[in-house]
């Protein structure tokens, strides 16, 4: 019995030592690989900078490791550049066959490989990959769809706007990624977003409107005003979705900052949905609409918590002196008092 225990103890000790040796060896190997990678990147950085700058350096024959290191540097640079330098990076990857390889990987049976390829194609910056990436938004794996959305944003692919908004509305891609991709396109996304203002799905319309608030301009005021008046006498089952459209329109009008739709926003203070009234009050505060003052006083006095608080903030922004006078009166509602306190913080 004692012999068996001694044998077991010995075996466990050997196993522990072997595990330690393996871990140390692995750590040494990883740190050696990292040092080698850093040295290669250091060696190839001047070449990458010349290439990006349009100097057509002599690349010669690169080893596989050098090719990988150069691709890594250029991929990182591509995320930070736009214009001709980025086009040069795309041309490099096209000429070296890397774009073709990644497009092939996009059809791999393994989702991890497809996602990696979709991600890499964004860094490569080749516009020829846009159709394939739009196709990848239909991939069964969420990681692949997310990587494709991020890459389409990097490529500023206007053609992808409608499909990206659908992905956003249908939660096929995380909101932050799909929204981030559309915002990354800036004003280039606006035409595609405008084309969705009449989309049959209210979720698509609401998301398009919300994003148009960031990428559109004053010329969108009339269309947003129309969305703000979207019929709320509709089936109860989709009441919330249609109210989301109106709330998104109010927020977008506030962000764009045009007074053109002020009358519509004042009307939205009477909307049956509290979150639409909240959004309308914030928007009126942002555009500084003095004509809305009395209606906002009523909202700050009588409405539910969120719309009343939004009205208080708007009052302080529109006319701080008047807000201070109203909120300072004895018996003023809690939110009118809040408006007065906020008004004191407003710059003179």
């Amino acid at each position: 019995m004692i012999d068996a225990l001694q044998l077991l103890g010995g075996a466990l000790s050997v196993l522990a030592v072997a595990t330690m040796v393996v871990l140390v060896a692995r750590r040494v190997a990883l740190s050696r690989t990292e040092r080698r990678r850093a040295a290669l990147e250091h060696e190839l950085t001047p070449l990458a900078l010349e290439l990006v700058d349009g100097e057509e350096p002599e690349l010669g024959r690169l080893s596989a490791a050098q090719e990988r290191a150069l691709a890594a540097i250029l991929g990182r640079y591509a995320r930070k550049l736009r214009g001709e330098p980025r086009d040069r990076i795309a041309a490099f990857f096209e000429e070296r066959g890397a774009v073709r390889r990644e497009l092939g990987q996009l059809r791999s049976r393994r989702s991890a490989k497809r996602a990696t390829a979709a991600f890499a194609l964004g860094d490569m910056g080749a516009l020829s990959t846009v159709d394939a990436l739009i196709g990848a938004l239909d991939d069964r794996a969420r990681d692949v769809r997310s990587a494709a959305a991020r890459s389409l944003g990097m490529l500023e692919a206007e053609a992808a706007v409608p499909r990206l908004v659908e992905s956003l509305a249908g939660s096929e891609v995380p909101r932050a990624i799909a929204g981030g991709a559309l915002l990354a396109m800036g004003s280039k996304a606006a035409p595609g977003l405008r084309s969705l203002l009449d989309a049959p799905d209210p979720g698509v319309r609401a998301n398009a409107i919300e994003l148009l608030g960031f990428t559109g301009d004053a010329t969108d005021a009339d269309a947003l005003d129309k969305a703000l008046r979207e019929d709320h006498a509709i089936a109860a089952s989709s009441w919330g979705e249609h109210a989301e459209v109106r709330a998104a329109a109010a927020r977008a009008l506030g962000r764009i900052g045009t007074r053109r739709a002020a009358a519509g926003l004042r009307g939205a203070l009477n909307d049956p949905a509290p979150f639409v009234r909240t959004a309308a009050a914030h928007a009126l505060g942002r555009i500084g609409d003095r004509d809305a003052f009395d209606a906002l006083v009523r909202q700050a006095s009588d409405d539910m918590y969120d719309p009343a608080q939004a009205a208080a903030q708007a009052l302080a922004a529109i006319d701080p002196m008047k807000a201070m006078r109203l909120g300072g009166v004895e018996g003023a509602s809690a939110h009118l008092a809040e408006a007065a306190a906020l008004a004191e913080l407003e710059p003179a």
Binding site: L49, Y77, K80, R82, G83, P85
Partner: protein
């Protein structure tokens, strides 16, 4: 201002941005001094008295707005033109940059050629004053 090569201070916590901006400006004939955070940028500005500073907004320690403000508050560095380089694009951020005393603003992702043109334009305006 000397007749020799103009000196540009470039401050960014992203090593790739430092490389890209430095390379383009050096190729255009400028001497480039780099810093990787706000404190280093202030120290370098006081030491080298650059002809212009390109500052990232989101730097560790002191951000680009704060560095710009401190440059403006110091008589020795108050006249250094500043270009802010940032990923932030909200109108309020642009206003904040100009309020802090920045002369120009460039959005990331950026074009090194455009940055060089803006550097040249600002320095040309300064030299005719």
């Amino acid at each position: 201002m000397s007749d020799g090569p103009r000196t540009v201070l470039v401050a960014d916590d992203d090593e790739d941005i430092l490389q890209l901006v430095s390379f383009r400006l050096e190729r255009a004939g400028y001497t480039v001094v780099t810093a990787s955070d706000g404190q280093q940028a202030l120290a370098a500005a006081r030491e080298h008295k650059p002809d212009l500073a390109v500052l990232d907004v989101m730097m560790p320690g002191l951000n680009g707005y704060e560095v710009t403000r401190q440059l403006r508050d110091d008589e020795a560095t108050a006249a250094i033109p500043v270009i802010l380089l940032t990923a932030r694009v909200q109108e309020a951020d642009v206003s904040r940059g100009f309020e802090a005393g920045a002369d120009d603003y460039l959005r990331k992702p950026f074009s090194p050629q455009e940055l060089r043109s803006r550097v040249q334009a600002i320095l040309a305006r300064r030299s005719v004053r």
